[in-house]
């Protein structure tokens, strides 16, 4: 399974949403709501409008979620977001120019449409993917002790060596690795299922 699939298939979570599990819906909202809000802001919307966009998108999603079966979920979500944006703010398309100038328009056009060019997707600097991961990390942060989190962060994100972290935290190297994998495994669970 490629990295691409890992991020784009939240199939277990979506399945639970399709089954109308309220807890899954809340988890889903917390994970993907901010991503849609972020896209809205990237399109040049102000915070209030981006908030409205996100809520409209999820309203639409709810109606269409049964139509999603598998494949690139994030890509599908982006398409729905763009469509909702166009439908509602089409008249305000010139606002894209007024607010953000041609940069905002360019941003809108350049947000990769993953269904089109899937091979280059992995190589593209897609901040959306990174943002989703960090959002998930924020959501699980409180489940871990400070020391565990610190070991994880320094090793997995700051690329510090296990030996160096072990020495400064006064623990064994294997404890450092354990911490890293505990968090990573939890991260995978957060993205994939309840």
């Amino acid at each position: 399974m490629s990295v691409q699939d890992t991020f784009s298939n939240s199939s277990a979570l979506i399945e639970q949403v399709q089954l109308q599990d309220p807890a899954a819906w809340k988890r889903f909202a917390n994970l993907y709501g901010p991503l849609v809000y972020y896209w809205g802001r990237q399109f040049g919307l102000n915070p209030d409008d981006a908030s409205d966009l996100a809520q409209d998108v999820f309203h639409t999603l709810w109606k269409r979620i049964d139509g999603y079966s598998s494949g690139n979920f994030r890509g599908w979500l982006l398409i729905v977001t763009k469509n909702v944006f166009r439908d509602r703010w089409r008249k305000d398309a010139q606002l894209l120019h007024a607010r953000g100038g041609s940069d905002a328009q360019l941003m809108f056009d350049q947000i990769p449409d993953p269904l089109k060019d899937s091979s280059s997707q992995q190589n593209q600097q897609d901040e959306s993917e990174l943002l989703l991961l960090h959002r998930a990390l924020e959501m699980i942060r409180d489940d871990f002790q400070e020391s565990t989190w610190s070991a994880f962060w320094r090793m997995a994100i700051q690329n510090e060596s296990a030996a160096s972290i072990a020495e400064s935290l006064k623990i064994t190297e294997s404890s450092v690795r354990h911490a890293k994998f505990r968090v990573l495994k939890r991260l995978k669970e957060e993205l994939g299922r309840l």
Binding site: Y37, A50, A54, F58, L131, A151, F181, L187
Partner: protein
């Protein structure tokens, strides 16, 4: 490091974490040539994938954006939508969390209608039952009270605003707790906020704008002199009363709470 994480105490999980750690070390040393246990290698590759992306750094601009209060409002609106209904109801700027219904009382205040949504809670037009005086009642929703940090922040705001007494700043009148609900009663301004004013009437004359900003600045100056900071300066937090006077409102906190 194990002790305080009960969910990870099951032996199966520990074995898995142990296996991953060992494999990680082997890989680091270049000693992992065989793939004898495909499942764990598969999982390892997947988790490595996350690490690769995470090492691209922190999406600081993106994180800044999703920390905006409007984002939280959106998430809350989405999450609160009832799945029992055929259609989701959108929480827009005019309709609010259905935790409180107009007519309901909080302490001695009767809620009349919602008039605003702050970062920390909803603001209602409310009436003191004995005094019959109308106020702007800021209410910390019950779901927030599960987080002690939220209560602390609300209390700090109450204390900060309670100290203020200036014609250009909305006054705090009362604060308290009724059942599990925290509230802050403030002066109700009979007027309009500048953001709405601009939308309704367009840009005022230069003279009017200067005068309005001058008055708002006086209020902010006073706030600073008290050692406080207005955390949320924007047009929707500047009120223009019917009497033609400007008042500042919004998120005021002690300066060292930044």
């Amino acid at each position: 490091m194990n002790q305080d994480e009960p969910e990870f105490m099951n032996p199966e999980n520990d074995q898995l974490i142990e296996g991953l750690s060992e494999l990680d070390e082997l890989r680091e040393r270049g000693l992992d040539s065989s793939r004898q246990m495909p499942t764990i290698h598969h999982l390892m590759d997947e988790l490595d994938g996350y690490v690769r992306v995470l090492q691209e750094g922190e999406p600081s601009r993106g994180l800044e954006i999703i920390r905006e209060p409007e984002c939280e409002r959106a998430v809350r609106g989405i999450a609160l939508a009832s799945l029992d209904q055929a259609l989701l109801e959108r929480t827009d700027r005019q309709s609010y969390s259905n935790e409180f219904t107009p007519g309901q009382t909080i302490g001695v205040y009767e809620l009349l209608e919602p008039i605003g949504q702050g970062g920390m809670g909803t603001v209602y037009r409310a009436r003191h039952q004995s005094l019959k005086r109308e106020v702007a009642l800021k209410v910390l929703p019950k779901w927030r009270t599960r987080h002690p940090r939220s209560i602390l922040r609300f209390q700090r705001e109450m204390q900060a605003v309670g100290q203020l007494d200036h014609p250009r700043v909305v006054k705090a009148l009362d604060a308290g707790q009724a059942d599990e609900t925290y509230y802050l009663a403030m002066e109700l301004v009979d007027g309009i906020d500048l953001s709405s004013l601009l939308k309704k009437c367009g840009t005022p004359s230069v003279g009017d704008v200067c005068e309005m900003i001058r008055q708002a600045a006086q209020g902010l100056q006073y706030i600073h002199e008290q050692g406080l900071v207005h955390r949320d300066i924007k047009f929707s937090n500047i009120m223009l009363g019917r009497d033609g006077m400007i008042k500042n409102q919004g998120n005021i906190l002690c300066a060292d709470c930044l």
